[in-house]
């Protein structure tokens, strides 16, 4: 139990997907202008990332390895992720139209979120067992949401700040992200694995 808790904490804070592993930067920079949309994107990604981690693990160990067709991994994983995104969209629309209103526009974007494919591949590379894969997927997604919300909050303030003209917009965003990343480096050593 402790092992899984440490893995969760480690993936969410210490080895944060966005700030340390550099995955999922496009939505991190693209959808973090407003706090509301950052939260929506965070929840949608959490859902898809966890499901995709599960689906890709099953695919790897029940199809790709027994049949010895590992060279099809990239191709099959991207298809599985697209299918999971599509499935999530249908389920959410059917059972919770309110949630669909909030998350709907973000769902198609998640297919090209490299955090989803990245975490699926890292799970295979690290030879995680099934439960660990689930925890790793969920932990990464929690880390993604956390950083996304923090960064959106900072950017809302930043929009009102006076910065040198050359730095306005994206450049100052990157520099603030760098400072945030520096702050997260303080977590290293919290969990040693």
């Amino acid at each position: 139990m402790t092992e899984y808790l440490l893995l969760l904490l480690g993936t969410a804070l210490v080895n944060n997907v966005v700030l340390v592993n550099f995955l999922g930067l496009c939505p991190f920079m693209g959808v973090s202008n407003k706090l509301d949309s950052a939260i929506g994107m965070g929840f949608a990604t959490t859902f898809v990332l966890t499901l995709a981690a599960v689906a890709s693990w099953l695919l790897e160990f029940f199809v790709l390895r027994p049949l010895d067709i590992g060279f099809l991994r990239i191709l099959t994983f991207i298809l599985v992720i697209a299918a999971v995104v599509q499935f999530t969209e249908m389920v959410v629309r059917k059972f919770s139209p309110g949630l669909y209103q909030v998350l709907g526009i973000f769902l198609p974007l998640i297919t090209t979120n490299c955090a989803v494919l990245g975490v699926a591949l890292l799970n295979i590379q690290e030879e995680h067992d099934f439960l660990k894969s689930v925890v790793y997927g969920f932990g990464s997604a929690v880390g993604f949401t956390l950083v996304m919300v923090i960064f959106a909050g900072m950017r809302e303030r930043l929009a009102l700040a006076q910065v040198p003209a050359a730095f306005a917009g994206a450049p100052i965003g990157f520099i603030v992200a760098g400072l945030l990343s520096l702050a997260f480096m303080g977590f290293s050593g919290l969990v040693t694995n």
Partner: protein
């Protein structure tokens, strides 16, 4: 005709650079630029995929129905990435190990599917291939500049570990800034990547502004001299 190519080249390398202006494909851009060689390696791999996928998408652009086009594009890109990954595993094993997960992640580099959708699916194969080549080179350029910057500040060298890409003969082409430079670790660590890219984009903004100002000046000068 050559005018059209000029525009494509300018767009890819500067005006519409995928890394600096479109802000696409950020993950590999920041992740692998610890050294110049790593950046160059991934840049070349990305360029290859981009040229091949743009060419293929353009060739089949009239055969694919628009409802399924995105899925088809993704599959085409994934196939080329698999080919590049296997080729690198065979010929550049050390580089393959260093770049690791970011080779398969070329699939989700949004700038590739972005070009397929926005340009290749509407233009002739030749134009699409040239566009892919220069978009890829523009991306590679940013990778190389950021890699060189971080390597120089962080370790005081340029072209370290060149042998993993150019073979044993290139082991000694590493340039060292000074033997006493201890390195500024922040530049190699993740925060350095973010801050470095922020500075590069800011520098591009300044250069762009200077160029517009100069152009405006020359136009007014010619206008007054004509009058």
């Amino acid at each position: 005709m050559s005018n059209g190519f000029n525009k494509i080249i300018r767009d890819g390398l500067w005006d519409n650079n995928p890394g600096l202006v479109q802000l696409l494909g950020l993950c590999p851009l920041l992740a692998v630029t610890g050294t110049l060689i790593n950046g160059l390696g991934l840049g070349i791999a990305t360029t290859l995929v981009m040229v091949a996928s743009n060419l293929t998408v353009s060739l089949i652009r009239n055969l694919v129905r628009s409802e399924v086009r995105i899925a088809v594009f993704v599959l085409i890109i994934a196939s080329f990435v698999t080919a590049v990954e296997l080729a690198m595993q065979a010929y550049f094993y050390d580089l393959y190990k260093v770049l690791g997960i970011f080779i398969p992640l070329i699939v989700t580099n949004c700038s590739i599917i972005g070009r397929a959708e926005a340009y290749a699916s509407k233009n002739t194969p030749l134009n699409a291939a040239v566009d892919g080549l220069f978009m890829g080179l523009g991306f590679t350029g940013v990778l190389v500049v950021l890699g060189a910057m971080r390597e120089l500040v962080g370790m005081g060298t340029i072209l370290a570990q060149a042998h993993i890409m150019f073979g044993e003969a290139a082991r000694n082409i590493t340039l060292e800034l000074s033997a006493t430079h201890e390195g500024f670790l922040l530049a190699i660590l993740p925060p350095g990547a973010f801050i470095g890219l922020g500075l590069i984009i800011a520098a591009k903004n300044i250069i762009d502004r200077r160029m517009t100002a100069r152009e405006a000046l020359t136009t007014t000068q010619t206008a007054t001299s004509q009058a």
